[in-house]
């Protein structure tokens, strides 16, 4: 088998694994009656979306992180900068994922607090039983 075929196979394997993970997490969000399990599935879904974003901006090794590691006390030469720009991975998805992680964490905190409140008021986090109760 050629390198190109192995490369394509591994790319496809990663993509199919991601699609499968999204399917499982969506199933968890929709079908599980337990609110805690819904939250776990939601975090898996968010993380999978972040992995996709990082993968899109990734560069085939040998690549370097998007941090310029040359001298900082003198101005870098244009050659150094061009060498950096042609070998570093895409920083934009990483910045967006950082934003997504922080917002996801804040929203998760709020959801967890609401779930805690539901448990305190109804004594259960099972959506089927919460729906039957009136309060």
């Amino acid at each position: 088998m050629s390198d190109v075929a192995i490369d394509l196979f591994l790319s496809n394997f990663i993509l199919i694994a991601i699609i499968g993970t999204i399917g499982v997490s969506l199933y968890g969000i929709v079908a599980k009656p337990n609110l805690i399990k819904k939250i776990i599935a939601l975090t898996i879904f968010t993380d999978t979306a972040n992995v996709i974003a990082i993968l899109i901006g990734f560069r085939r090794p040998p690549s370097v992180p998007p941090v310029f590691t040359g001298a900082l006390t003198r101005p870098p030469t244009l050659e150094e900068l061009r060498a950096f720009a042609s070998s570093a991975v895409d920083p934009l998805p990483q910045a967006l994922v950082l934003t997504a992680i922080v917002i996801g964490m804040a929203v998760n905190l709020l959801i967890i607090f609401i779930t805690l409140q539901v448990f305190r008021l109804y004594g259960t986090v099972d959506m089927r039983r919460v729906r039957e109760l009136r309060g």
Binding site: F13, G20, V67, V89, P91, L92
Partner: protein
Amino acid sequence: MRKFLIAAAVIVIAVLASIAATVGGALGPLFNGVRSLAEFYLLNVFNPHNQTLTAMSPEAVTSIVWDYRGLDTLFETVVFYMAIIGCVSLHRGIELIRKRSEAGLSRIVKTVTKILIPLNIVIAASIALHGHLTPGGGFQAGAAMAVAPIIVIVVFSRFFLLRKGVTKEVALSLRSMGLLGIALVALIPLIAWVTTGSAAYVMQNQVKADSSFSFPAYIGGSLVSGSLIWYNIFEFLAVTFGFTIVFLLLSVDEETVRKVLGGEEHE
């Protein structure tokens, strides 16, 4: 055994599907190089030869977060703020009482914690202050720092934290100070515009084509990347104390909460 079989079946199906996609030419290869936008960021992020486009920081991610796409991050901070306020308002009416309590884990755990907490603070401060030089920044440092209050709550009990002066009110005001600092750094170019008369943009960092305003990139010979270090420091403050509030509220015992909730129900 049944779970093992299911896992094995899932892996086999994924491999077969990948082979089918490879043979059939569907999907496609990943890692085909980066887009021209990425090349632009990477080339200009620390480029003193191109003063109007650079952020003067060797760290591309922090530059994008606080300079190139700064307003995004500002709104993201607002979302974070709103979520914390939502948590606080869900806990309205519940008082965090201070009382003497010798609760907590054993003396060994407490001593080890006392040694580790200063280290934790130093590491978090280092992540925040080097955010414009190495991977890291305000959010990451805040998340690292937030480990300290939760360890103290688990090992010593929340009364210890409250007795040391880290109350909900103190944390809320420190967090608001962080947010005000971010707003101030974002508005300094406008203030400079009003006072000096030369045009400037909100959240401007370095010189732009039609604006001569610039935060100092070097202070005393060391690289601070203009506004980036200030944003990182204030974000560090805001995130740390945002999480501290949440952990304090989460550690309130069920009895106290139920008393308040029950009181509302019977009114």
